[in-house]
Point group: C2
């Protein structure tokens, strides 16, 4: 059996991975798209996306279906497997997925960020009162009570934003900082870790160690797992894959795009980066081929 070598393997099928696939396909490259075991994206969970240009006020799941249809229309091969490890070998990459090894000239990592779900009840209420993005979901809570759980410090600015139109914002400070809010509808809870989220159809209360707070929504800002374990030697900076403006990592032929390449964690940013990574990977492969002649 002859070895099959792909031009570009794309790891991850969220907005960044799908955009990379569409762009590499348009440039007539031989590609494989790994979707992981579930084939789902975080976008699925967002009740409404307002800021992906061309689709005002669309449900996250509907938007993701449009993305998938685009890829299906182009008949792009999708492998429903999780890539366990990627090894740079000479001028090729070896990708290990389940019991198969794939070989590729270039690789684009678009694995997103893994949300650590730690609070009791959090998993059950995602998309039903729990959110990880105030820009995306904040406007749904106009005139309502929300709670921000801040593990990273970014929740302070987000609370400031939410307080503009929510009736009340509880700010549960799990950081070492002490932000000073001037808005009087922000109440700071310090030294009192969150323990459980409860509700009926949607979230209704947050229990901390020492009190119970009635709330319509909970926004959680938390560090994520570092993506560095996928590729030995790939440089990480501030928890994200370190890339330049061409979405190149420190390893030649290896690109990253989307949430795994840093903030903001947003659909349009991911789609744009997927495109940039793919077109630069295409140029990289073409340069290899021209050098061969």
């Amino acid at each position: 059996m002859s070895r099959e070598i792909f031009d570009i393997c794309i790891v991850g099928s969220g907005p960044a991975g799908l955009s990379a696939a569409v762009n590499a396909h348009v440039r007539r490259k031989k590609i494989l798209l790994f979707s992981g075991e579930s084939g789902l994206s975080k976008v699925n969970l967002s009740p409404r996306v307002d800021n992906y240009l061309g689709f005002p006020a669309i449900n996250g799941n509907d938007l993701y279906q449009k993305f998938k249809e685009h890829v299906e229309e182009f008949k792009i091969p999708l492998v429903p497997q999780k890539v366990q490890t990627i090894g740079p070998m000479d001028s090729l990459f070896m990708l290990q997925a389940r019991d198969t090894v794939y070989e590729s000239k270039a690789v684009i990592i678009a694995t997103g960020v893994a949300a650590q779900k730690l609070i009791r009840g959090e998993d059950a209420f995602v998309g039903r009162g729990i959110s990880y993005c105030a820009t995306c979901d904040g406007p749904l809570y106009q005139g309502k009570v929300v709670t921000v759980l801040d593990y990273t410090g970014e929740g302070a600015e987000e609370s400031h934003f939410l307080a503009d139109f929510c009736s009340k914002v509880y700010y549960v400070n799990m950081t070492k900082k002490s932000p000073a809010f001037k808005k009087t509808n922000i109440e700071v809870i310090t030294g009192d870790p969150p323990e459980e989220i409860t509700g009926g159809d949607t979230v209704s209360t947050l229990k901390t160690k020492s009190r119970t707070v009635d709330t319509d929504g909970v926004f959680i800002f938390r560090e994520t797992y570092p993506p560095g374990e996928l590729v030995p030697g790939m440089e990480i900076e501030g928890g994200s894959v370190k890339v330049n403006r061409k979405m190149e990592t420190n390893i030649r032929g290896l690109y990253a795009a989307g949430d795994c390449a840093g903030k903001p964690y947003q659909v349009a940013k991911s789609v744009g980066e997927g495109q940039t990574a793919a077109l630069n990977a295409v140029a990289y492969i073409d340069a290899l081929e021209l050098a061969d002649t």
Copy 2:
């Protein structure tokens, strides 16, 4: 009359500018969007866009109309004027447009790239056989004859791509390089500058100084005007506004996005960068306000 100070002024209403506007609006900032005198974008001219995720195979003008509708649905104020100059003053920017000066805390430049139209007939055939993007329009010329006018060197790789599915590619080399093509359907024309493009409904011939070539399409790759003249002191690199991964320029509070910030010149990349620029401008303004308290 009291001074009116905007949070974010956005200069340019192509995909990057519109995306920045949508994102700044979602974050409830007071914005102004300058569309220039024509209000048009280069996207309008593309007969087909295949690689903006969510819209497979859409006409460029139709896609741009979807973008405009998104902005109109949000009732974002649009100023149909060209910004002549932007002056950083203390912690504010002064924007001069026609006879009015606008003040803004942050500015996003999304002015695109100015295509220098130099060859006789070029202007008349844009979108009717003349293109500036092989990725976008190349697939329309399956089995046909195309001509690449290369002033920058990027036309070599593009010719390589086009030769995969066009019957013949004339490569008019206006660079100092001598690319070696292995594909036999690429014919190199050297030392023979293009002078005129002619045709009927669409392009049919290219005249160079010494010969006339029958061609169905002409792809032009050319340096563009530097965007640096808009803002004194703004750093330029390789003809583009120099930005980091946050789309920050070298001037605090000044961001750039889209084609003016560098290649690839593509819709999704521009939309993503507009989003990143807007969200970072929002964070910049919020930090200014928190510092004020």
